[in-house]
Amino acid sequence: MPVSTSPQGQPVWRLRTRRAEWLRFMAWLVGLCLIVLCWRVISDNTMWVFVEDAGRQGSDLLARMVPPKWGYAERLWQPMWDTLNIATLGTALGIVMAFPVAFLAARNTTPHSLVRSAALGVIVASRSINSLIWAMLLVTILGPGVLAGIIAIALRSIGFVGKLLYEAIEEIHPTPVEAITATGASRLQVMNYGVLPQVLPAFAGISVYRWDINIRESTVLGLVGAGGIGLQLNASINTLAWDQVSVIFIMIFATVLVSEWISARVRHAII
């Protein structure tokens, strides 16, 4: 117990030993120095002249946005439908690709440990790279449009769905699998009747969750030309039509809230 003695010879309780206190102090010192150093780098690369009138710029921006140009909303229904399609079809495509990857990546269903590391590599690569970067690449390859957005969303979803699903597969109960194996079932039949029913609720929940995230992400894919409402956002920003931008923001806000509500309801119903 960390106790130190006061000059009067009375024991005084302390939270930590002296050694631990020194260690903590040093750790804080090193951390603080690192942060100050990082701040230096940022501050060197910043033009402070621009920052000085940030308040004025901000209020100016707000003033330009404030009466939103509601008439513009009529022209947003088609892009909104595209955005929903990008998210939904992208999620569906991503799930189809993630499903086999997850089974190959789970320790208890993988055919070989080499296959497992390859599948894990696919999952990490897909998870590390944001859907916007995928979209940027695909737009240069496939040309601008909804298709690039769908594939970008799908590629990003593989990692997310694959990771959560393979973790769910690794946590299944082994007894049903053993029971099915004992009947002489083939490997595929074991998967179908022993593993799949156990992970299906988790799988459905993960898919709906990812769909909800994808709606959010697909609203901005248009910034790099991959279709959806982001195209209108980009055009409005480029022409400095901030009253249109605010209409788009409100639409995005509403869509995200609705999709979050749907996803929460569905997950609640499943689990």
Binding site: T46, L142, G145, V146, T219
Partner: protein, 283 residues
């Protein structure tokens, strides 16, 4: 009455199934019991797919034209070029890493008061509502949208990026922290209060030790997310490796972009290992 009917139909369904099974024709249970709902859902999905796929306009000529570029890109992954643009890559990476660290620290520091305010069990109602509002706004908008606004306000460069990431961190951390605080064991709070401790002392000795392990784990996780996001917000001019990546892709220098993507993947992997290590150590 409705429930009774449903129960009886379920019973007949089960007995019919059992009857078939005794004759050696076993079938797995259908996922959705009610056949009307089952077929209705299938029909709705099919209808949606037809409508959605019909509205996806694909310019096949353009796709065929880009196919060779796609192959180039895949080939570039086999031979990533780290050296030609070494200076740009290093500068972008340094900017991204500094942005990540400072924004996470700033974001977590700001998220702690917001999180305390958004926990219903220790905050009064008006403060609770304000803090929940901050969290909702910060979580709804994508980082890139916030980045556009901040770039307009603060000019191009890493400062706008840092503030964007810090703002996004507030929503994320404050929400999870508030949920954690709402789940703390109240006994310890009562014990500390019984010693006559003030508000600060209660927070410091009753709440903080209970939420600290998860707070550290989440901060490290957020560090990882912020790095990934810092690669994106460069597209709209908020500095970092994203700007370098954007330039290299639009100049069709796929070998450089492949190198940058590989570096991002490696750093994310490293962060993930570090964060799982830290989480094991704190718990």
């Amino acid at each position: 009455m409705r429930a009774l009917q449903a129960a009886s139909s379920e019973a007949t369904f089960d007995s019919a199934r059992m009857h078939l099974a005794r004759q050696g024709q076993w079938r797995p249970m259908p996922l959705i019991r009610d056949p009307r709902l089952r077929w209705g859902l299938a029909l709705a999905v099919a209808l949606y797919l037809v409508l959605a796929l019909g509205s996806v306009g694909v310019n096949w000529a353009r796709v065929a034209e880009g196919a060779s570029r796609g192959l180039n890109f895949i080939a570039a992954f086999a031979q990533p070029d780290f050296l030609t643009r070494q200076r740009d890559i290093l500068n972008g990476l340094l900017e991204s890493l500094t942005m990540t660290l400072t924004s996470t620290v700033l974001g977590v520091l700001l998220a702690i008061p917001v999180g305390l305010g958004a926990a219903r069990n220790i905050a009064p109602l008006p403060i609770y509502l304000i803090c929940r509002g901050i969290i909702a706004v910060s979580r709804t908008f994508q980082e890139i949208i916030i980045a556009i606004l901040f770039v307009v306000m603060f000019g191009f460069g890493p400062l706008a990026g840092m503030l964007t990431l810090a703002f996004a961190t507030i929503g994320f951390m404050a929400k999870l922290l508030a949920e954690d605080i709402e789940d703390v064991s109240w006994k310890q709070v009562e014990a500390i209060r019984a010693t006559g401790a003030g508000w600060w002392q209660t927070m410091n000795h009753a709440i903080q030790p209970q939420v600290m392990p998860r707070l550290i784990g989440l901060s490290v996780y957020r560090l990882d997310i912020n790095f990934r996001e810092s690669a994106v917000i460069g597209i709209v001019g908020a500095g970092g490796i994203g700007a370098t990546l954007n330039t290299s892709i639009s100049r069709y220098e796929y070998d450089t972009s492949a190198a940058i993507l590989l570096i991002i993947i490696a750093i994310v992997l490293l962060c993930e290992y570090a964060s799982s290590y830290v989480r094991r150590w704190t718990q």
